[in-house]
Subunit: 237 residues, 6 copies
């Protein structure tokens, strides 16, 4: 199986980290290919970044011509998922929904630990439209920007503090709310005594599951193929 993994920002080192997380979760026969958008924000932290990222990721996907069996979109809470489902014939799995789907199997309520407060509404919206918000107890921010996550020790401490708030709000399972947190599930899971779900790994497993079962996006409703028309993807300036 061949799975494309799209980073939501232009930072290549983050794509590489995501690919490592994806490979760690993948089945023996699965090949992971990382894609970094050629334009967009260097990190996605807020609405403006998210809409910019969505267009850039979709542009990247429509321009990619290698073979693949499924796409994993590695932007937690970022826009674009539904556009990729329209655009592509393979299954598309977003790490936001993937983490939530698996978290629901592990406890009655889950919490999401995100980077900055400003990303909370997007994440809540994304979980809701994906249909998995019902058992979300809280989205709590660690107070760290995406690019700050490189400092592992500081990230771990901030995560644990936020995790305690999520647990107080009823969470029995935690979700890493940023692709850049991939790997953290091992460190913090043991210290917390709670399952911690990484969206990248979760999405890879769900993508493999859909491929194995021969399932892909329905074309009978809102994800019908895009209508043929003139679309310009590049600023004329």
């Amino acid at each position: 199986m061949r799975i494309l993994v799209t980073n939501c920002n232009t930072t290549r080192s983050m794509t590489e980290e995501i690919v490592r997380g994806a490979e760690a979760a993948a089945a023996p026969g699965t090949a992971i290919t990382g894609l970094t958008p050629g334009w967009g924000p260097e990190s996605a932290e807020g609405w403006l970044d998210s809409y910019l990222s969505a267009a850039a990721v979709l542009d990247t996907l429509r321009g990619y011509d290698g073979p693949y069996d499924a796409v994993v979109m590695a932007g937690f809470g970022e826009h674009g998922r539904e556009g990729a489902r329209e655009l592509l014939d393979t299954p598309v799995v977003d790490i936001t929904e993937a983490a939530a789907h698996l978290a629901c199997l592990l406890g009655r309520r889950y919490g999401v630990i995100t980077t900055l407060d400003r990303t909370r509404d997007q994440i809540e919206d994304s979980l809701r439209t994906a249909g998995v918000d019902r058992n979300c107890a809280a989205v709590v921010s660690a107070g760290l920007g995406v690019l700050d996550l490189r400092d592992e020790r500081r990230t771990t401490e901030a995560f644990l503090t936020a995790a305690a708030r999520a647990r107080d709000a009823g969470a029995e399972v935690l979700v890493l709310g940023c692709a850049g947190m991939t790997g953290l599930q091992r460190t913090v899971g043991e210290r917390l005594g709670m399952p911690v779900v990484d969206g990248v790994g979760a999405a890879v497993k769900l993508a493999e599951s859909l491929i194995t079962l021969g399932l892909t996006t329905s074309r009978t409703g809102g994800y019908a193929r895009p209508l043929p028309k003139r679309r310009s993807w590049a600023s004329p300036g």
Copy 2:
């Protein structure tokens, strides 16, 4: 007062039509300026178009340097609204929410008549995140593409058929679910014996209201100013 009105697609004739609708609703001292994105889809009909449109409209807004007091975003159910709120210091009013806000004042339940079935989920999501979905009885499609709306007679008939379905679903007020329908409220309103709200006019009045009251977007939460960082807005290709 100076209000910018952004079309969500690249079709200039549609921008002109929207500007006419906006001017018809504007107060005597209000100047309307229409903006057509320099890139994006020629019409927005679905998720892919909507995400492409969102980035193009935001790019257009960040590049505009004339003075203005508020922005009206004239894409019904299209993405981008929250990004513009982050980006700009003036009030931002989207025609989707604007029509719904006024419709709520006119009856207990309203219905939206949109173009194609495929736009329904986007509209429902947009109403929900705007906080005005509670009294929406139905989003019904007329089965016409955005650019088909130029045929006035066919549009009127399709609208009336869809309106009957919305009324059966409990709607007491109707909303024109596409900026390209502007003007139709007069024709069909009388034939239906129900109030019909045009989002463009509604958004102009709400924008004027906010300007007069000295109100603009809160910066204390999710619409804080975008963080400074590298953002590339154009495909390098």
Copy 3:
């Protein structure tokens, strides 16, 4: 344009204050007329007062024979709105819903600062039936009775304390939850660094908007004209 503004209680000085607030928001050509019910409670603080007020305000409206183009009902969270919509042919805008409609345009979640705890359920019910409760983060009371609001300094302090609680609950925008607070939006808005919406001003702008757009209450559903029958409005005692 001629807008009637009804106070919900019998205290004339409060009607005058409301009229001043309405005039401050009104467009140049708009004339404001204040109406004080000839019976009812001297202030509305709770269910009993609210139901008494509703009948008294409706009685006042049915007895008023001057010309007007819209009605603004200036009782925050009080009953009667739907009855006025049945009774009158002009648009009717209630300050509760009006403030919430504008607040939704300014942030993702708003909070209402009301007078006493006992008014909370009424306000929540009123926002819900108006269709604008979705993004209400909290209704917080300042712990002051309606007639205590005359002490400006004490009111400001109590408001700021309550505002902090609303902000903690997620509010990014505040709403003045009593017609008697009109004017406070200027004082506290700056100190809080958040937009503060006054329902009286908001309702005046929304009423003007509906008049300009030629929109009024739908008669096809629950707001059909009252059936002709015997109704006695006065206690025989």
Copy 4:
């Protein structure tokens, strides 16, 4: 036990009918006293009537000085319930909520058969604020005015037609949606093969239950005693 039953309108013959229904349900030792408001609408059919009725019923209750142990308010979907809870120290049970409470014990979803379409929103609001709307499958109108219910045969036929619609919507239990339908539960119940709950009987049993258990309205929240103040209950005209 002594139970006061308040009619919501000024039609004495309807009060008598309600009293007969209440007596048929009452325990051996329970005395029923019917109260007819001295003012208000001759029948309650819509928002205006309902608000007028609410004030008139509250006025009637505050003026009644005989002894009693509980109050049953016999207006289906009418306003005023919460005001009576503030005003009185005895338990207050409204027939709307009472019928729904018992219906929930008899099937997973219940339907309400009301008189006219225009009463639906009020009934839905009343069920919701009472906390028993969750399992309401539908509120269906029989298309008959309150005073038309005197024609028993026509009422039975209209009820059966509406009942079929409620059943199609998922109702397994029916509720008589007007105090004037009292007695119909016996006639139609057998023909439908479904339980039919009459609110008057239900409210009497619930009132007796609360009296026996020594329970009455909580004073710690929204139903605290009304604040002392000037209230005028009568139009000065």
Copy 5:
């Protein structure tokens, strides 16, 4: 009237206590018969116990051949209620829903005080499927196991502490969240100044009400009689 009351566990002393509580609430002519399952858990505290209890209670009911007019199921938050409605022709009232139904009549929001944290989700689910969760402000645990409730003083203190948390969450009325708490309503009610509802007493009154009104479970939907088939109720081991 003859009411069967089923304990949800195998502890006979608890059945006796429940019977005493039921008798204290019953009308003069009502005879209470307590049933203790011959198998199952000695106390029900969690999902495993609840499912085991449900089968054991249903087995007990199907094997009981004495005459009775209604069944009260005395396991707070335990499963099985809907199965009993399918199995039996008499009304079935569960103490969870019964307490909530009466609590809704006494205040706008109620709170449940349960034994252990682990029972919360079950109780919330049970209230929801019964259709009475809307006005539940909180389910708070006292931190005591079912069999610990025998220590009256400790129980009272733990209850009062939990009650304060429920009140902070908005509860105006409290519900005893375990059949083993029966009797506590008198002790703590006065100290708290709030109504406290015991589910056993509430269920007896509701069962009597349904019997008097001639109402029983609807057979037209999900509670149709069980299909005839082979069912084995006992482990072959």
Copy 6:
């Protein structure tokens, strides 16, 4: 990996069919072991069967002493899932939730095609507590009992008829609502032009995913290990 699959009824041929379905979906290294309860109903169709089945399945699981890495519970809409999570240290995946989780990835709304009308409420409850009901458009019954499913042709026709109703209700993806339908997804999927998800296959893939990611049920909340106590699993009779 070793996955236990529990049938919810005592019919061995159905267990075998389920095992075949599970094996068809399993990864190369996965061993499937089917378990048939030694007691319980021969098919589960309604509340009574479901509660009986839950206890029997839990009894079967607690008595099984072979090694395994995860459990798949193959009763669509049946009770017991949460009890197994308490009881066992391995992940537990129920086919109801599993099918819904994957369906959410394939379209905006899914529909469930079940056997008999009487199972609908159970399925809706199960989806809700699992946290995946939000995007369920409809649960539609095919009007066939569980054991009738052996007639393949009749089942296919009934399924297609029900599928059309689900599609009209907005479903873009279908879910086989009974373990006995396993295999049907291939036949009907092509004829419908829509993805059809089989819960048994879905649950196997999700169980494998959790095993690979090293995730299992959280013990910090409602799924804490059962308290030690006396539990009797067998009717003494």
